[in-house]
Amino acid sequence: MRSREVNILKSIDWWIVIIYTILVFAGWVSIYAASYNFDDSSIFDMANRSGKQLMWIGLAFLLGGIIMLVETRIFESYAPLFYFLMIGVLAVTIVIAPDIKGSRSWLVLGPVSIQPAEFGKFVTALMLGWLFNSYNFNFTKPRNFIKAAAIVLLPIVLIILQRETGSALVYFAFIFVFYREGMSGLVMIAGLCAILFFVIGVKFGNEMIGSTELGAALVLQLIMLVTIGMNFFFTKSVKSGWIQLGIMLLLDIVFYIINSYIMVVNFVFVGMTLCGIAVIYCYVNFLRTRSFKYLTIIIFTVASILFSFSVDYAFDNILEPHQQTRIEVSLGMKDDLKGAGYNVNQAKIAIGSGGLFGKGFLNGTQTKLKYVPEQDTDFIFCTIGEEEGFIGTTLVIVMFFVLIARLIFLAERQRSVFVRVYGYSVASIFFFHLLVNVGMVIGLLPVIGIPLPFFSYGGSGLWSFSILLFIFLRLDASRMETYS
């Protein structure tokens, strides 16, 4: 075991540091612009949010410096301790946190308020790294998969109990890490399918064509298509794939003709029949080849059908009314310009009015007039869009992508599984925040209140993202040390 390298400055990845610095200062300037009023306030004024953010940034750099001095082994050895401490704090928060607009997630310690859920991310990432690096760990064993899933689900449950659904959602970013570490790609496909079926099911759920409920019929056809696709690519049974595709097209055309000329057909039943045929076909193949892949397809098809029929129920009964409206707004089913759609519509107006070059720094009117809610926190991307235009927004997205790509590159070059898993976690969390926050502001995703890293105002958020990143930098800087 070699001693720690003397000159850590040389082994730090300066690319990341530079991108980080650009992002936090761009964020700082944006916060100033978002809360600017044409009055007298200076960007350094501590009474304003920009002044406070500058203080948070200074402290974040200080924190980065401290993290650089920490012995790397501590992060791995103490990961379980950190993790269970954090779980304890999250649980305690539910009980002792004051109720702030329905959420119990802020711990008030004298003059400062912190949100423990923000700091849970890096601790959970460390814990996952620890688990994957443990002796003889094989992710394909169900037992280990359950362990890893439990590590992620425990904080999710606690954060949902704090009524911070948005923050809890971020933990689903770890699915990318699971995938990288060997989770079956089928899970990812199933997840994508679930989202797709949900969107189509809800969006066309109430549209009737003849006696056919459009949503259900479309979803069933899609399920059939995916089933056929799996026949082609998963079991590589090309022949049965063609046969099923043929049956599908034939039946659809026949019933289309019947529907047009003879009698009204409910295509939901046609879809059901098709899926039934596919299931029987796969079962026959299973009996013939004894390949469990066919059983997997059957499970997928049946589960998809059950899922698509429970979508309506879940949407109407499990989601709260404001969540339903947010989803309906982002699917373009509702305008609701006064309620849930108001924010998104105002955000779109602000961004859209920016044009190519934007209106110029501090010249945005939409954000100034406080039309856009949360303009210096969750909706800060609006200010960038309005004042810096398409150039500014694109630059921000590109910068984030470069950061994420660089993180993945660095993660892959690690010799230690611990650091690789941690690096992927960092990249995934940043990506997830970018995906949800920007997607919400530009009206592609429903309104979910999570911040844009380094841009949204707030000490807890900035610190948690900085710690997340700096720990990885620290681990990466020591990658040449004995970790084999």
Partner: protein, 618 residues
């Protein structure tokens, strides 16, 4: 080291997926920002200003439909900093009656984000609130001289009768905490404080409406959005009908003037409160308008504590009014019958213990014992219950006794629909175990509670509730001051009958005793011509000064229409102030006027001033 090259390829899938999302977002931004010009025009002309339209607050009526509280327009002077141009500052100051320094300070305060976190130079800020009608008139003539200043209409409460502040309550601006708890409230909104304004806030406040206006890039209002199709009109608050009889209330307040204490009158059949007085009282209009803060502070500093609602919050020793509960409990528990007699030798004497009593015939059965308020009778019967073998121990007999009182509304809040009700105090056996530091205490140690002294305490409301319960011969309704809410049913809690643990037949005997007290006992002054009155005096010892004077009663004896309790601090004998005030209020309610033979008593009560005798630190 483990490297799995099959898995390492997945970095391209993950990275590629993330790249795809970024590209989709950039394409979306391209369409939003460059391809579509709609949003630019939107931004120029289609920016919303959501303006809240405040509903009018519900009105408050008395039981006879007399309007008590209504709304009056008030005017706030608003300013939009960006739109203020050169103007004659001195002229504005003179019109508003303020100095130049005050003007400058106000502008500084508005701009100071520490004091005014939501400040924006584009949005209206309150410069001065609740202008008087006169200032408003003067200002409106010159408004065109002051660009950037606007008048915003609001409503404030007006009181038609300057009375009953503890029942009516008032309104004030919401606190930061209330805004956090209930998202309905915005900065500067009003909410009910004290009285029914507070308890019925949810009904009175109504639903806010919204008007959507369009503004241009400079923040100027350009008219309504979509001709107001998306506007929502406000829903006015619901009106309340109180059970209070405002005429009776004013009369009772006049009688209680210059005395410290409480008075509660209840309609026994319904539990509706007819009058509720806490004295000294104050003028509810003092808590309206710009002077509210100053007046409120003065009221909190007043040594007589007028804000304190003595009628429902103050705990007093109930004195001899409490003997009626003893008569009921010991009968129900078969400790005595109406024929049981106890002797009285000018007091209750056991060994060296002596509790005095006044001169009357002895021994007496229950009915005359009530009428003469014999201390010895109730001490003896109380001890007989405490020491009875049938309960096992004194602790168990005491707790049984306590349960009876709780069923009669003592020891806990009655649940009246007014804020800050007190619960009085009825101890349990555990309390005495702690006080005496042993569980071997004797009935003689606590005997004084049988006559309403010692540890037990009750609010005037609880005493009035006892009167109503006896008037009903065994049950009461939770006392309440709101009789009806527009379009709403009254809470079931206020309509159900709450029966005590004592049977009706024992109540009948107690009623006889109370009637006899008026015809030939301690409260002869309560008698009203042509009406059979039932009453009971109370004179409770006060270690800090003169005895408190109390009275409870109801009338008429059959089908009672009013039950009452009066408590005058340091008023001496019950018969001195309690009895006359109580009977006058009953007479006023039942007959509408005071009979000539009792005018002298009315004058004496109206003019009596006890304030100088109270030993209050100023």
């Amino acid at each position: 080291m483990r490297k799995n090259y099959e898995l390492e390829k997945r970095k391209f899938i993950i990275g590629g997926g993330m790249l795809l999302v970024c590209i989709i977002y950039i394409i979306r931004l391209f369409t939003l920002q460059i391809l579509s010009s709609d949003y630019k025009t939107f931004a120029d002309s289609n920016a919303f200003l959501k303006k809240t339209i405040y509903p009018s607050r519900g009105l408050i009526y008395d039981r006879n439909g007399e309007l008590l509280v209504y709304n009056q327009p008030a005017y706030d002077l608003m300013m939009v900093m960006r739109e203020v141009k050169e103007f004659d500052t001195l002229d504005l100051c003179n019109t508003l009656n303020i100095t130049r320094e005050q003007f400058d300070k106000r502008i500084r305060d508005i701009k100071d984000r520490r004091l005014n976190p939501g400040y924006s130079s584009y949005t209206p800020q309150t410069f001065m609130n609740q202008l008087s009608g006169k200032d408003y008139g003067l200002l409106m003539e010159k408004m065109y001289l002051f660009p950037g200043f606007y008048i915003q209409n609001r409503t404030i409460r007006q009181y038609k009768y300057l009375t009953a502040p503890h029942i009516l309550g008032n309104i004030r601006e919401v606190s930061k905490k209330e805004m956090e708890i209930d998202p309905f409230y915005q900065r500067g909104d009003y909410t009910g404080d004290l009285g029914v304004e507070k308890t019925y806030e949810q009904f009175l406040r109504g639903e806010k409406g919204v008007e959507i206006l369009l503004r241009d890039a400079h923040g100027r209002v350009k008219g309504k959005y979509e001709n107001g199709d998306f506007d929502e009109s406000p829903t006015p608050g619901m009106n309340l009908t109180l059970s209070i009889d405002i005429e009776l209330q004013q009369y009772a307040e006049a009688l209680m003037a210059n005395k410290v204490g409480g008075l509660v009158a209840i309609q026994p059949a319904t539990g509706e409160i007819l009058a509720l007085v806490s004295s000294p009282t104050f003028n509810p209009a003092e808590l309206v308008g710009r002077e509210r803060g100053k007046n409120y502070l003065a009221l909190t500093k007043d040594p007589f504590k007028p804000l304190y609602d003595r009628a429902i919050s103050a705990s007093y020793p109930p004195g001899s009014t409490f003997k009626l509960t003893q008569a009921l409990i010991t009968q129900e528990e078969d400790i005595i019958t109406q024929n049981t007699k106890f002797s009285c030798s000018h007091g209750y004497v056991v060994g060296g213990f002596r509790l005095g009593c006044h001169a009357h015939a002895s021994p007496l059965p229950l009915v005359p014992a009530i009428a003469t308020s014999c201390n010895a009778y109730f001490c003896a019967s109380f001890r007989a219950m405490m020491d009875s073998k049938k309960y096992g121990s004194i602790q168990e007999s005491f707790d049984k006794w306590k349960d009876y009182l709780v069923s009669m509304g003592y020891g806990y809040k009655t649940g009246i629909d007014l804020p800050s009700e007190g619960r009085g105090f009825i101890p349990n056996s555990n309390f005495y175990n702690k006080v005496f530091k042993t569980d071997r205490w004797k009935s003689l140690n606590i005997v004084s509670i049988a006559i309403g002294q010692g540890e037990i305490l009750a609010t005037p409301l609880q005493i009035a509730n006892l009167a109503a319960t006896i008037a009903n011969r065994g049950y009461f309704h939770t006392p309440h001051v709101v009789k009806g809410i527009q379009n709403n049913e009254l809470d079931e809690e206020f309509t159900r009958e709450r029966h005590t643990m004592v049977e009706k037949k024992y109540y009948d005997i107690v009623v006889e005793g109370m009637a006899m007290a008026v015809t030939g006992g301690t409260c002869r002054r309560a008698a009203i011509p042509d009406i059979v009155v039932c009453g009971k005096t109370g004179t409770s010892q006060n270690p800090h000064g003169k005895d408190h004077s109390a009275f409870m009663g109801f009338a008429p004896k059959d089908n009672p229409e009013i039950a009452i309790a009066v408590y005058v601090e340091q008023g001496g004998f019950g018969a001195t102030y309690g009895v006359p005030i109580g009977s006058l209020v009953m007479e006023k309610y039942l007959k509408g006027e005071i009979s000539p033979s009792r005018k002298y008593m009315e004058d004496a009560m109206l003019n009596a001033n006890l304030l100088p005798q109270y030993n209050i630190r100023k």
